[in-house]
Amino acid sequence: MRTRFAISVGRSVAAVSRMAGRGEGMVVGGKVTLKLAPRAIADLANDRVAVLVSATNGKTSTTRLLANAVEQLGPVLSAQTGANMTSGVVTTLANGGLDTIAVLEVDEAYLPMVTADTNPRVILLGNLSRDQLDRMNEVAMTARKWRRMLADHPNVTVVANADDPIVTYAAEQAPNVVWVAGGQVWTADSAVCPECGTLLSRDGSHWHCTGCQRSRPDPTWFLEWADSRGTAVAPDGERFNLSGLQLPGRFNASNATMALAVCEQLGLNLTESVERMCEVQAVSGRYAIVQVGDLKIRLLLAKNPAGWTELVDVMPPAPAPVIVTINSNAADGRDPSWLWDVPFERLRGRTVIATGDRRRDLAVRLLHAEVDHVVIADPYAANAPLPEAARDLDIIDNAATYTGFHALRTSAAREAGK
């Protein structure tokens, strides 16, 4: 009763927030609900949460791919906006019937709490790397918390990326683990064994610790990636062609492979699952092409070094200029020193248009990477001093941190609605 009342108050607040143009209202509405009824998530979960998805990168895309696949069973409840802390989870759960299957993405730090409240059937653990270090725990600490969480929930099935030593450490003692060779391009946050601190030895995607002898578990699912095409290989050797995915890049093929391993655990038809994943076009605006002011841009979310490392491959080749928006609001992380961990040297040969609140930090980083750049507060204005090559492009890639990305989506939606 208390929960139902709290949800209704929360919805009203969310509606007011939407009308005031302050975002989608999910987070503020959820906050109000949780304040009034702290057990709201547990009440709403009602044993219908099929899957929780967590990772530093790719959780929104993976959740969307998975939710689309699970829809072969009927309607699925899933956040459409990437609202993934407790407040977003409660709002998502409140928005559907009490027996609708839920597939939810959860922020890394909130996963233990949400797991305790929702009792999911499967938890997907994708990857862990540095992100928002001012807010987040350091990576190893998050892994320790996940490990304790799984010890407390022995009945859950875990689908985990065996190529990420930190994720492996979190999942290795769970009784039911499906290991996926999902790949790991960014290894800087898993240089040492999270248990004993010894430098890990690596050979391709294989890794082992000479200190305590832990090593990469044997995966049963594999992603094969060649010539920019992915294939998911199932435990029985069946191959699923992922080249029909509309979400680009190796990392999305990896997301799909992990999602497919979850589909198998849920007893779904895997061929149909892949077909449904291939229908997903843009996830919460990622890779969407939108008009902002004078420019038509392709939106790319790039919020940490691991994400950036994969994203550069998705951009058109040099000398095509790109816009990079760097903010440092709470949701971006207050400290943009992670820019120094991004291999921006790979953007040499093009002009980068640096914008966002922390455009000057980006400019200094690009200076040191010897990448040509211009610093422009509003590159979308009609009279913005853009390099000529930028005006010549039909569509220009715009990579942005979280709040910059959402500001661009909002302003594109506003212009489209005019």
Partner: protein, 245 residues
């Protein structure tokens, strides 16, 4: 006249580089290039010997377990201690700053032994220090350091300076060592809590290190991008602290 390249050693960047501190090596190379100085960077991994005959050693920040592992590896190796005794220049940031001292807290807060190349000791702050850090060079800082230091701190250490070690700066905004001072200087060893990275946001410190190891004065070179960033960060802190008061 031909000069040999400045030998820069980057200590355990795989272990100690969590907060963009790898940028300090990039900044040193960049400033060296601006001054027409040749340099060569040698990255050392744990288990590899630390060269004892280099000019400049750079140590970054890192997580708790990595910090303990790095301190143990460096103590066992002994190369950094020899280099320090020889008078080589050392720049150590955050966890690296703590671990070149005699003692620092491990991930459970227990005292762990440091490398001991500088007489400082670190225990825990009552509350983690996270945010912009601005500090004014102290009277003990070399004369080339005149501008405010700007950076970002993210640590839980209260650092106490022993005899013969002087504070690098006094805190204008932020926490630093925890007693109103920030960083430490002893001979040619500089330790600091400034991330940012430190040398990209404070090129005077980079130039000071390069000046020490080349034993000559360097002309002042100013870059617009860096000036704009420093001004914006100092202004940001000024605006936000006046709002608080």
């Amino acid at each position: 006249m031909t000069e040999s390249a400045i030998r820069i050693v980057s200590i355990y960047p795989t272990l100690l580089g969590t907060y963009g501190d790898g940028g300090n090596v990039l900044a040193l190379r960049h400033r060296a290039r601006l001054h027409g100085l040749a340099e060569a960077v040698h990255e050392v991994s744990p288990g590899d010997p630390v060269p004892t005959d280099a000019d400049l050693y750079v140590i970054g920040g890192g997580e708790d377990t990595a910090q303990v592992a790095a301190a143990n590896a460096l103590r066992a190796d002994g190369g950094l201690q020899q280099a320090a005794e020889r008078g080589a220049a050392i720049l150590a940031i955050c966890a690296g700053y703590q671990l070149i001292g005699t003692e620092f807290p491990d991930n459970l807060g227990r005292p762990a032994p440091g490398v001991g190349v500088i007489d400082i000791r670190t225990d825990r702050l009552p509350q983690r220090a996270v945010g912009e850090l601005i500090a004014k060079p102290s009277q003990f800082a070399p004369s080339g350091l005149t501008d405010y230091f700007t950076g970002y701190e993210n640590h839980a250490g209260a650092t106490h300076l022993g005899d013969g070690v002087r504070p690098l700066a006094s805190v204008e905004s932020g926490i630093g060592n925890g007693d109103g001072t920030e960083g430490a200087i002893a001979g040619r060893t500089i330790g600091t809590y400034l991330h940012g990275p430190c040398l990209a946001r404070n090129p005077q410190i980079a130039d000071q290190l390069l000046s020490w190891v080349t034993d000559r004065e360097l002309v002042e070179i100013i870059e617009d991008d860096v000036v704009a960033l420093r001004a914006e960060r100092l202004d940001y802190v000024a605006r936000n602290s006046s709002r608080r008061s």
